[in-house]
C-alpha cells in the first residue's frame, strides 16, 4: 500500500506522531486509586472465578493496541492510500480513451468520456507528488505525449477532446516507454481489451441505443424509374424498442415509418423514394433516451437523373456494343449512323445526354459528352502519335472514375493508334502502351470526352467482364452525375489536391494536401462537398457500423474492472473509505469493551 497524497516519509511521521500521542494519552490517564479493604480474601476468590487480573491488563494492552491501530488507520485513510504495490514516485502512463463511443451517455447524464476524464484526474491526483505522468489518448490528438508533472498532466487531461476515429489504438510506442504504472481509462467498446501490462479502469456502463447501421439506394430492377432506400436499424439494448424512421429530402419530401426493433437485433426496412427528386437524403431516428445519438442519423445522395439518353453513332457491325449499352441501367439508347448524326438538327442534339462514337469522329466537338472508340484525329481530340501494334497495355490511374473497379490486366490489343494528349490538368491518360504512349485519354473540360485509341473489335476488350463496367463508369462520368464518396467520421481523403471542402451549413473546412490528395476532418455524420477540378465531389459521412452502434459490447467487463483498476476510483468507494469504516468498527469495539465494562 502506498500513500499518494503524502510522501511515505510524511505518512510515516504522521503515523508515528499519532501513535506517540495515543500512547502518551494512555500513560497520562488517571491512575487507579488505592482503596483499602478489610481483606483481599474474598476479592481474590471472586477474581479467580471471574477473571484474572493479569487478563485485565492484557485486555487493557489490547485496547491500547486497538487504539493505536485505529489512529494509524485513520492517518492512512487521511493520506488517501492506493493499493498499487508498485507505486512509487517514478513515472506513470495514463491512456485516456477518447474514441467516439465514449460520447455515450451514462445514467448520470454525462458522457463516458467525462467520467473517464474524472477517473484519469483522480488517478493522477493520487499519484505521489513527484510522479511524472504521460497522458496518452487513443485518437492521437496528443501528437507527442511526454512525461510531465502532475499539474501539467491534469491540464492535459482536462483539455482532452473526443476524437472521431473509429479505430482507436493504444500507441505501440507507449509500450516501450518505461513506467511503473500504466492505466487505460476506457469503455472497452472500440478500443477492445487493453494491453496486458496496463491496468484497465473501465467507465463502461450499459446504455440504450438505437442506431442506423445501413443506408443505401437502389433502382428497382426492371423499372429504372423507381428507386428505393434500404435502412437497417440496430438495437443495442436488452429490451425491444420502438422508434420512428424519418427519411427526408429536399423540400417537403418526407417518408415516416414506425418500427419495432428487437433487443440486440436489427430491423431492415425498405422505403420507396420514387417520388423524391434526388439530391441529399437524410435518414433519422426519433428514439428517446438514446445513449449514443451520433448514429441516429445517416446521409446519402440520390442521383438526380434517372434516365440517361445515350446516342450510339455507329456503322453496321458492332452489335454487342449496342447491346452492352442497352444493358446499362438508366440508359435509353438511340442508335444512329454517322450520316444521320451529320444531318441531325440542333433540337435533336439537345435530346442526347451522351454520344458514343464508334469508329467515327465528327470534325466538330459534339454537343454532349462523348465516348469515342477508335479515335481518329480531329480538332477537339488528341493528335495521333503513331501506330500501336500488340502493345503492353497498362492502366495508369485506377482512381479515375472511368477506371474505377476495373481489371484490365488481361486486355489485349492487336492494333490501334497512340494518342498525344495535351499536358494539362484536365486531361488524364487512362491507358498506356509501349514507351508510355497513351492508348486511352479522358478529358474533363467543358464537355467531357473519353477517347480510345483502338477499336474494340481489334482487341479482346469487348470480351472482358470489365467492358460493361467501363461503359457504365464512362456513362456515369460523362453524364456528370456528382461523384459520391462514402466515408466514416474522422479524417477523410479527397482524391485530388487543394480541394475546397464545404460542410452542410456551407462552412469551409480546413484541408491538408498531401501528394495528390486532400484531407479534412469530418467531425460528425453529414454531407460534405469537396470542390476541385471545377467539379464537386459529394461525400457522405456516416457511421453505419454495427460495431460502433453496439455501445454495450465492452471488452472490459465491469465486474473485473475494480479489481484490476485497484487503487482509486474504479471502486464506488475507495480504500480510504474502507479504512475509515474499519477505524469506525475498531472504535465501536473499543467503546463497547470500555463502556460496557466487560473488563475486570
Amino acid at each position: 500500500m502506498n500513500a499518494y497524497t503524502l510522501s511515505p516519509l510524511l505518512v510515516g511521521a504522521a503515523v508515528a506522531a499519532a501513535v506517540a500521542a495515543v500512547v502518551l494519552l494512555y500513560l497520562l490517564r488517571p491512575p487507579a486509586r488505592n482503596q483499602s479493604v478489610s481483606s483481599n480474601l474474598i476479592w481474590q476468590r471472586v477474581l479467580e472465578t471471574y477473571r484474572r487480573v493479569s487478563d485485565r491488563w492484557r485486555w487493557w494492552l489490547s485496547l491500547l493496541i486497538a487504539s493505536v491501530a485505529c489512529v494509524c488507520i485513520v492517518v492512512l485513510a487521511v493520506a488517501r492510500p492506493g493499493t498499487d504495490a508498485s507505486a512509487g514516485s517514478g513515472k506513470a502512463i495514463v491512456v485516456v480513451d477518447n474514441a467516439p463511443t465514449m460520447a455515450t451517455r451514462t445514467s448520470s447524464g454525462g458522457q463516458r468520456f467525462e467520467v473517464a476524464k474524472q477517473r484519469a484526474l483522480s488517478l493522477i491526483e493520487n499519484f505521489p507528488a513527484a510522479t511524472q505522468v504521460m497522458v496518452v489518448d487513443t485518437q492521437r490528438r496528443l501528437v507527442t505525449p511526454a512525461f510531465e508533472s502532475r499539474k501539467d498532466a491534469v491540464e492535459t487531461v482536462t483539455a482532452l477532446q473526443l476524437g472521431q476515429s473509429y479505430q482507436p489504438i493504444v500507441p505501440s510506442a507507449v509500450a516501450f516507454v518505461p513506467a511503473e504504472r500504466r492505466y487505460v481509462v476506457t469503455d472497452g467498446v472500440l478500443l477492445g481489451a487493453p494491453p496486458s501490462d496496463f491496468v484497465a479502469v473501465t467507465v463502461f456502463e450499459p446504455a440504450n441505443n438505437l442506431g442506423i447501421t445501413a443506408f443505401d439506394f437502389n433502382n428497382v430492377p426492371g423499372d429504372p424509374a423507381r428507386r428505393e432506400a434500404f435502412v437497417e436499424v440496430f438495437n443495442a439494448g436488452s429490451e425491444p424498442r420502438s422508434t420512428e424512421v424519418v427519411i427526408s429530402g429536399i423540400g417537403e419530401q418526407r417518408v415516416t415509418r414506425e418500427i419495432s426493433v428487437p433487443a440486440n437485433g436489427v430491423s431492415a426496412q425498405v422505403f420507396d423514394l420514387s417520388d423524391f427528386t434526388g439530391g441529399p437524403i437524410r435518414a433519422a431516428l426519433t428514439a428517446t433516451e438514446d445513449g449514443y445519438p451520433a448514429d441516429d442519423v445517416a446521409y446519402g445522395y440520390l442521383a438526380s437523373r434517372r434516365i440517361v439518353r445515350v446516342t450510339l453513332v455507329s456503322g453496321p457491325g458492332l452489335e454487342f456494343l449496342s447491346k452492352s449499352l442497352r444493358a446499362q441501367p438508366r440508359v435509353r439508347l438511340n442508335v444512329i449512323s454517322p450520316q444521320r448524326y451529320m444531318d441531325q438538327k440542333v433540337d435533336e442534339a439537345v435530346a442526347t445526354d451522351i454520344y458514343v462514337f464508334d469508329r467515327f469522329v465528327p470534325s466538330e466537338p459534339p454537343a454532349a459528352p462523348s465516348l469515342v472508340i477508335a479515335a481518329k484525329p480531329a480538332g477537339w481530340l488528341p493528335a495521333r502519335a503513331g501506330d500501336a501494334s500488340y502493345p503492353d497495355v497498362l492502366a495508369t490511374d485506377g482512381r479515375h472514375p472511368v477506371l474505377r473497379n476495373l481489371s484490365l490486366r488481361d486486355l489485349y490489343v492487336e492494333t490501334g493508334s497512340y494518342l498525344q494528349p495535351e499536358e494539362d490538368r484536365s486531361t488524364t491518360v487512362l491507358l498506356r502502351g509501349d514507351e508510355g504512349k497513351a492508348l486511352a485519354v479522358a478529358h474533363d473540360g467543358a464537355k467531357r470526352w473519353v477517347a480510345l485509341g483502338f477499336d474494340v473489335a481489334d482487341s479482346n476488350f469487348g470480351l472482358l467482364p470489365a467492358f460493361p463496367l467501363f461503359l457504365g463508369n464512362s456513362i456515369n462520368w460523362l453524364a456528370d452525375e456528382p461523384e459520391i464518396v462514402r466515408a466514416q467520421p474522422g479524417i477523410v481523403a479527397v482524391p485530388f489536391r487543394d480541394a475546397r471542402v464545404l460542410a452542410m451549413d456551407g462552412a469551409v473546412l480546413p484541408v491538408t494536401t498531401v501528394d495528390e490528395r486532400s484531407f479534412f476532418e469530418a467531425a460528425q455524420p453529414g454531407l460534405y462537398t469537396a470542390i476541385g477540378n471545377d467539379r464537386p465531389l459529394r461525400i457522405t459521412v456516416n457511421l453505419l457500423d454495427r460495431r460502433i452502434s453496439n455501445v454495450n459490447q465492452s471488452a472490459v467487463p465491469v465486474a473485473a474492472a475494480p479489481a484490476e483498476a485497484g487503487s482509486v476510483s474504479a471502486v464506488p468507494f475507495g480504500l480510504s473509505a474502507l479504512l475509515l469504516m474499519l477505524a469506525a468498527g475498531l472504535l465501536c469495539v473499543e467503546w463497547f469493551a470500555y463502556h460496557r465494562r466487560i473488563t475486570v
Partner: protein
Amino acid sequence: MSVVLSEDFLRQLEHLALVTRRPVAGHLRGHHRSRRTGVGMVFTDYRPYSQGDDTRNLDWGTYMRLDRLILRLFEEEADLPIYIFVDVSKSMGLGEPGKLDFARRFAAALAYVGLINHDRVSLVAFSDGVLSEMPARRGKNQMWRTLHFLERLEPQGGTSLQNAFRKFFGARRTRGLVIVASDFLDAAGFEPAFQVIRRFGHDVFAAHVVSPEDREPPFGDDVVLVDSEDGSSLKAHLTPELLDSYRKGFARYCTEIEAFCRSHGWGYLRADTDAPFEQLMMHALRHEGLLR
C-alpha cells in the same frame, strides 16, 4: 476509645444469663450444670458408699431394705468459664461503624452478663496471635476492669485465628463457652482454627462482625484494592458484574462459616455493625440461644 453501654441497656442485661448447651466444668459453684457430682439439687445416680463420703447423702431407705450403704449423687452446679475473643486485627479497624468498636461493645455486653451471673469471664485480644488477655474475673465489680481492658484495644496485625486459639488454649483452660467476635477474614481459613477449639471440647459462639463496606463495596471503576492487614494489592476494574460477584462471594463466605458452626452445634450470629446494637443483643442472641 470508650465503650459506651447505656444504663437502660445494662439494666436489661441484668435479667439475662449466658447459656451453654454443654455441661460446664467450672471449679466454683455456680448456676450451670456440670458433669461433676456433688452438692446440688438434681439427682443423677447412686454409688456405693466409701469412707470419707458425706454421710448426708446416704440413702437410708435403701440401707433399711438392702442393708447396704448406698450414696446418692447430685449434679453439681458450677460456674461457666467464658472466653471472649476479640479480633483486633487491622481489618477490624475499618468500616463505618467500625467493626472493632462494635466488637468491643459486644464483648463488654456479654462480659457484663457473665459477670453479674458470677461466671468467670476471660477476655482475649488477638490478631495474628494472642495480643493481650484479661484473666478470668467474676463478679459485677470486675466490670470496670473489663471495660478498661477493652478500651485499650487498638487494631494491629493480621488475622490468624489458629495461632491465637492454639496459643491461648495451649495452656490448660477449663472447658467453657468460647465467644469469638471477629470478621473471620483469615487467609488460613477459619476451619483449622475452630478445629483447635473443638478439640478441647468448648462450646463456641461465633459473632461474625460485618461492616457495610465488607458487605457492599461502595467504590467502582479502576481501583487498587489494598489489603489492610498484609498490604497486598489487587488492581481491578470494578464492573457491576464484578461487584455483584463479590456480594455473592461474601454471602457465600458467611454461609460457609455459619454452616460450619451449625454442623458442630455451635452458635453463629452475623453481626452487621450498622444494625441496632441493643436490638441485636436482646433479640438475636436470645434467638440464637446464647442468652436467656
